[in-house]
Point group: C2
Chain length 355, copies 2
DNA sequence: AAATCCACCGATAGCGCTACCATAACTTTT
DNA sequence: AAAAGTTATGGTAGCGCTATCGGTGGATTT
C-alpha cells in the first residue's frame, strides 16, 4: 500500500534561514517597505513595481511570517464566547463552528461558561474582561440581559449576539427567524390534518421560546384553530422537562394528536413518554422538534424538525465581531448588522396524519 | 443597584494598553528577563523571586503576547485534536477540557473532525499536518489504528491517546480503567440481587467496549454466574443502537432483570424501551450506564452510572502532549506515560433489587 | 584569606514585519 | 518656469518577547 500523503507542510515555526521580507527586497531591488505594500495590496504602488516584487516573491517562495506581522501591526484580536447551558448537542456544534472560524481568522477565542445567577455571571464576565477580549459573542439568555450588556458596554467591549432580540442597532445579531420557522412547522402539522396540536414551550428565559410560541400560535390562528391554554405547556429545553410536559399533554382528557416541542431534546422525551403509553409515533401521535441536533437522527423514529444552522451561526457571529472590532479600532462607526440565516424544515419519520 | 465590577481591565484599546512583560517587570521590581524566566518555568530563579513575579502577573492579569513570543524564537506550540463522532455530550466536555488547558498553557489547539473511512481520515490528517502541529491528541478508535499512528510517526508528529491501548511505550496514553470500572458496576448490580444481567456492548471499533465487556464478564464469572451469549448484545454507543439492543434483550423468553449499557446514551434508550413495555425502572428493570454525561441526569429516572472524568482526561492529554513536545525539542527522549485517572460509581435512581 | 565556583539576575540585541514620516519623483497649476 | 500639489518609495523606529552573554554576590574550596 502506498499511502502517499501530500502535505504542503509549512513548518510550525519559521525555521532558521527562512526567506524574509528583506530577502525579497534585495532580490527585487526595492525596499522592504515596498514589498510590504505589495503583500498587503496597498494602493500607491506603481504597477511595474508591483509586478517585479511579485516575481521576486514567487521566485523565492516567500510567505510572510504571521507572528511578526501581528506583532508589528498590533492587530491581534482576542474574542470571548460566553455560553450558558444549552444542550450538549447544541453546544458542541456551536463551539466547533466558532472555533474553526476564529482559527481561520487568526483570532484567539476564549470560551467561558456562564453559570446561572448574578454571581456566576459576574465571574464569567470578569474572567472575560480581564483577559482583555476586544469583543464577545453572547447567546440567549445572556444577550437579552440589559445588565450584562451594560457591563460590556462599560468596558468598551463589543458584543455580537446569537439570539432574537436587538436592544439597539449598535449591536449586531445573527439569528434565524424562529417565529416563522415555528409557524412553518405548525402549518406543516396542520396540513397533515391535525387539529389538536400541543406545544411544549422552551425555556422561558430564552427569547427564542417566545418567538417559537408566537409562530405556533399565529399559524394555528391562521388556520382558524383555537388552541386551548392547556395545550401549551412550559418546558425548559431539557429532556427531563420534556418528559413532564409531554406527560401533562398526554394526560389531557382529549389529548393532542400532534405535539410540537420547542427543541429536539424535548421532542425525544415526548416520544419516550408516548411509547410508554403504547402510543406509536407517528401513527398515534405526531411529534416534531426544533434545532436538528445530532439527537434528532439518533433516536427512533427519526425526528421531523427544523434544521437550524448552528455552526454557521456561530461562524457568522465570529466574522461579524471581527469586522466590528476592526471598524471600531479604525475609528469607523460601522453600523451593526442583523444577519438572518436560513432554517429548513426537515421531514423525517416522526410525523404523519392523525390516527 | 450599583453593580461594581472589579476588573483589572486593560484600557479600552487592548492595542494601547495591553499589559506587557515590561509592566510586570516594573511592578515586581525585577527585569523583563526574569519575568520571562518565570513564565517559562526556567530553573535558576530564586523561589522568592518567582513568587513575587507570579504575584505581579496575577495582579496585572498579564498574559504573554503569543505573536511576540514566537517571533522571538520561543517554543511556540501547536497541537491538534482529532475527534470522530462520539456523543455530543461526551464531545462537548472533551472539547471544553482540552480547550481550557491549551489556553492556560498558551498553546494553540486545532480541532479537527475525522470522518469515518480512509478518505475522511486522510483529509483530517492532512489538514492537521499541513497546519504544522507538533503533536496530536487522538481518541478511540483513531488511536488504535496502526495506519494512522504510522502516518503521524512518519511526519514526526507526537501522539497522545485518550484510550485503552498502547501500541508501544513511546506513546503516552491517558485513560480510566474501563475494565475494572465495568466490573465494579457489575458487582454492584449483582450485590443488588440480580442474576440475569444483560450487557449492551459498545461500538466494536472502540477498545473501551471490549474492556467493559471483559470487566462485566469477569465480575459475573467471579460471582459464579454464567452469562448466556444472548444476554450480551452488540450496540454502537448511539441512542438508536441502544433502542434495538434493549428490545432484543427484553424480547428474550427469560428477560434480564438488569441491563448494563456500555454508555449513557444506550442506557437512556434502554429505559425508553422498558417504559414502552410498561416496565418500571428500577422496579421491574435495573438499568445502568457508563460515562456520566449530562444525559445521565437529564432523564428520568436519573441514571446510575460510572462517572468518567472526561474533561480532566482531555486536560491531562494536553498536558502530557506539551511535555512530550518540549522533551522532544530539547532532544530528551522523555519516556511516555500511562496516566490512569479515577472513575467513580455514581448511584442514582435507575437501579434496585430485582422485582 | 584568596581563589574559585555557581546560582541568580540584568543589559543588549535582535526576531520579521509594519506605522509613520520624510523624501524623491513626477504632475499640475499659476 | 517656478510653485504647489500628487504620487511613489525609502528610512527609522519600534511591536513584545527571548537568546546570549556578562556581571554580581554569596558559598565553597584551597
Amino acid at each position: 500500500m502506498t499511502w502517499e500523503l501530500q502535505v504542503n507542510a509549512r513548518s510550525p515555526r519559521p525555521k532558521a534561514g527562512a526567506v524574509t521580507i528583506a530577502d525579497v527586497a534585495t532580490a527585487s531591488g526595492f525596499s522592504p517597505m515596498t514589498v510590504s505594500r505589495v503583500i498587503n495590496n496597498d494602493t500607491k504602488v506603481r504597477e511595474s513595481t508591483r509586478l517585479l516584487v511579485q516575481q521576486a516573491i514567487a521566485a523565492l517562495n516567500y510567505s510572510p511570517n504571521l507572528a511578526a506581522r501581528s506583532l508589528a501591526g498590533a492587530d491581534q484580536m482576542r474574542i470571548g464566547l460566553l455560553y450558558s447551558n444549552p444542550s450538549a448537542a447544541y453546544l458542541s456544534r456551536y463551539l466547533l463552528g466558532s472555533l474553526e472560524q476564529a482559527r481561520a481568522a487568526h483570532v484567539e477565542l476564549i470560551v467561558v461558561k456562564c453559570d446561572a445567577g448574578e454571581q456566576g455571571e459576574e465571574d464569567a464576565i470578569r474572567e472575560l474582561l480581564s483577559s482583555g477580549v476586544d469583543g464577545v459573542i453572547l447567546s440567549e439568555p445572556m444577550c437579552d440581559s440589559p445588565r450584562i450588556l451594560a457591563l460590556f458596554a462599560q468596558f468598551d467591549t463589543l458584543v455580537v449576539a446569537v439570539g432574537n432580540w436587538r436592544p439597539s442597532n449598535r449591536m449586531s445579531i445573527v439569528r434565524i427567524d424562529d417565529r416563522e420557522a415555528a409557524a412553518e412547522m405548525t402549518r406543516h402539522i396542520i396540513s397533515l390534518g391535525h387539529r389538536r396540536v400541543g406545544l411544549i414551550i422552551g425555556n422561558a428565559l430564552h427569547k427564542a421560546s417566545e418567538m417559537r410560541r408566537q409562530g405556533f400560535e399565529s399559524a394555528m390562528q391562521g388556520a382558524g384553530i383555537t388552541v386551548p391554554p392547556e395545550y401549551m405547556v412550559q418546558g425548559h429545553f431539557t429532556y427531563r422537562s420534556g418528559l413532564e410536559a409531554a406527560a401533562a399533554l398526554l394526560d389531557l382528557p382529549e389529548r393532542p394528536s400532534a405535539i410540537f416541542a420547542s427543541n429536539d431534546d424535548m421532542a425525544a422525551a415526548t416520544i419516550a413518554v408516548a411509547h410508554r403509553r403504547q402510543l406509536d409515533v407517528p401513527r398515534d401521535l405526531t411529534v416534531c422538534g426544533f434545532d436538528d441536533t445530532d439527537f434528532a437522527q439518533s433516536i427512533w423514529p427519526e425526528l421531523t424538525t427544523i434544521h437550524q444552522p448552528i455552526a454557521e451561526m456561530s461562524r457568522a457571529a465570529v466574522d461579524m465581531l471581527i469586522d466590528q472590532i476592526r471598524a471600531h479600532r479604525a475609528g469607523r462607526d460601522e453600523s451593526a448588522r442583523d444577519q438572518l440565516l436560513d432554517y429548513k424544515l426537515v421531514l423525517r419519520d416522526s410525523d404523519g396524519p392523525p390516527g
